[in-house]
Symmetry: C2
Subunit: 199 residues, 2 copies
């Protein structure tokens, strides 16, 4: 049977989303067909909406509906520490934790020579400008604990420390609830190196 | 941080889809923000499109863009056998196999007293009308091999056989590639009962 064109099209579009394969796309498309027109419209509209309204914050490059994001615009946030992350989504993840009271800086990626991404492709210049403007005491580098994230962290430490700020790196170690038996050697080494005196 | 309204809205809408939780919804919404406006529009449009264009086939209740679906409208399909399934999606699954040359009938569910779904809530009357119109030799019941599907199959056999058609049920047994060791007793029993002489 030739599938109805509109269904094939929707399946094709859904498959372009991360983590959605043929089966999931098919199931989602049938689900959408069965819902009320109202509900389907709401989903389609919210997809368009997010694309139309969301811009990157002029200060930190996090997502925002205004020129400056809700974190940068909040006077209650500690403006003397900047947490540097790779992607806008990472800001969400850290905010979910609800403990960090400083501001963010989104690099929009990580240094990755293999992918042709160098320091100039990231928002490092903007970060330097923020530090030059003064008032920053600490830069917490929260790039991913993988090769690209580590290279980026090392690079940032090298160029930011001479500017007179403290540059720290988030701790690597065993995740809470993990089992020593299944830990990889590199994580184990990091966890050993990062050991702390017990109280 | 208060999340931008448009992002929260999109996440809420995405979470209404089957199999999509908070994390996946967040990841999908960030993916959508990063894509070009063009790509996002295409997705939103195809979601609306499917809802506007797809109707249920007047004959078999499968999905269709016209009054009769591509299977029912195809003169090359054997019109003397009807494969009965629960959901429109099941037609897709069977068509993917590419072996069945007859037509379909979608019940739009299965008999399930616990959910308050009786025979009258399904498209059984329409199926009876198709059989009364003549020319049908066999009705293959391909409802799901679970309690609801089996009850529905038994019910269909009881009311359709007196109408002079052959009513068959798809085979239950061990899935190809499965391991005897992990088979549940009911499947094993069905597989034993359904055994066939080797050639």
């Amino acid at each position: 049977m030739k599938r109805p064109e509109s269904v094939s099209e929707l399946i094709t579009e859904l498959k372009k989303l991360p983590g959605i394969g043929q089966k999931t796309a098919e199931r989602l498309s049938f689900f959408m067909m069965r819902r009320s027109k109202d509900q389907t419209e709401r989903l389609a509209k919210s997809i368009m909406n997010v694309k139309e309204k969301i811009v990157l914050c002029a200060i930190c490059h996090g997502i925002s509906e205004n020129e400056t994001c809700n974190v940068c615009a909040d006077p209650a946030r500690a403006s003397d520490s900047i947490c540097v992350v790779e992607e806008p989504y990472d800001v969400f993840v850290l905010e979910n934790m609800g403990e960090f009271r400083g501001t963010y800086h989104v690099l929009m990626g990580a240094i990755s020579p293999l992918d042709g991404i160098g320091p100039d492709d990231l928002t490092i210049d903007a970060l330097k400008l923020r530090i030059e403007a003064g008032g920053i005491k600490e830069v917490i580098v929260a790039t991913n604990p993988n090769m690209e994230g580590e290279s980026t962290a090392v690079y940032l430490a090298r160029i930011l420390k001479p500017m007179g700020v403290r540059v720290t790196r988030i701790a690597r170690g065993l995740p809470v609830g993990a089992d020593l038996e299944y830990a990889d050697p590199v994580t184990l080494l990091k966890s050993l190196e990062g050991r702390r005196e017990m109280e």
